[in-house]
């Protein structure tokens, strides 16, 4: 597909623009140090993240009524804390820990790359986050978005078709070729392509840590394949 008609870049955010795993380890290590809790926070983050896909699939399949991903993580947190000997963590602290998902830091190339892209393109999130959480993270990570769209706008998660249809409507005014999805996950790009959008893969081979097995590389011939947001800006002439 030609990318010359693209006006808006929509970004997967968790993994593609922000380094959730390192951020969570750093943030919760600080909380642990203050509260006398010693844990393998990387293992904790990895286990926590396993709740993500099954929790969302339950909503998409109709097995469960709409809940934001914030709630899916909170339930998993409440289940995990006793297993780590942390039954006594207060409600305030549980809330603080769960909100770490909106205190994540950008990969080093993200903000410089997006700032270049923002001069030519409209930029928006395209995330399975809840809406307020994405607004908070946009602010925390200084992401120069012109707009945000999230799963909470349609109460379904990627890869439900309603997510891609919403992007085509809101950002393309019905014209998918005006939109490029930028993502570190092949499944997301496959669905965007099926809905007529242009596609850009940013490789994030350490998103899931040093042992990452999936999404190490582009699995289809995406329109653009790069290793950073700055390289994407370069490829798009920004």
């Amino acid at each position: 597909m030609s990318v010359s008609k693209v006006q808006t870049l929509i970004f997967d955010t968790f993994g593609t623009l922000v380094d959730w795993r390192t951020s969570i380890v750093d943030d919760l290590s600080r909380w642990g140090a203050k509260n006398g809790v010693v844990l393998d926070w990387a293992a904790f983050a990895d286990e926590w993240k396993t709740a993500y896909r099954p929790g969302m699939d339950a909503v998409n399949s109709g097995k469960r009524a709409w809940v934001p991903v914030r709630q899916i993580y909170r339930e998993k947190l409440d289940e995990m804390l006793p297993q780590y000997g942390l039954d006594n963590v207060s409600e305030n602290d549980r809330h603080f820990i769960n909100e770490v998902w909106y205190r994540l830091n950008a990969w080093p190339d993200t903000v410089p790359g997006l700032e270049r892209l923002a001069k030519k393109y409209v930029l928006s999130s395209f995330s399975n986050s809840d809406f307020l959480g994405m607004a908070l993270m946009t602010k925390h990570a200084s992401l120069p978005f012109d707009a945000i769209i999230t799963a909470e706008n349609v109460r379904k998660f990627k890869p439900d078709p309603s997510m891609y249809e919403m992007a085509v409507e809101l950002m393309g005014q019905g014209n998918p070729e005006r939109i490029m999805l930028v993502a570190a996950h092949n499944y997301d790009l496959a669905h965007a392509r099926k809905h007529g959008m242009a596609t850009a893969f940013i490789a994030r081979p350490t998103e899931y840590g040093p042992e990452q097995k999936t999404d190490i590389r582009a699995e289809q011939e995406w329109d653009i394949v790069v290793a950073s947001a700055e390289q994407l800006a370069q490829e798009l002439g920004c």
Copy 2:
């Protein structure tokens, strides 16, 4: 109402943050000069704007299927051009003229005020604009929003209840007291208050030009009443 629980400020945009009338006159005067068209552009803008409320009311009442306000303005433009002796304006120029609604400039106090407010609060538009148009205007006017929400998210216009309910859901996670609507229009604040939000009035007594008759002053005791976004930042301790 106490404003101490407020976490998110949502802003009416046209009139409250951007000076649509002066911007349109300046922008279209430049277009006119380049194309040999001499007009009273202020009168043109005033007449154009009259299409806004009836066009939206037709959608809200169900008389007409959803159309974005962009389409309402375009229909009025096509109706007006012949009356101004401009039957021969090309499709490209009509599109350019209509897009002026997304090339509007901020009032002088808007960006400095919002930049101060953004340090403490989540900021979002809350506008009857279409979604992409608001993203374009956010960029054009350098509005430091963390998020945007528009009528196109619910396919109804203010003051339809679904607009206020959406803000309470997306920005307040069901808690309206966490949200303050900032607007230059008393009707909008009255509906926000009815839905449980805090309210701030910014007086824009020249939004409609020197002869403005409505919304010259606060018509109820809004939580905050100011004359600029910078004064709002001051009142909120930013």
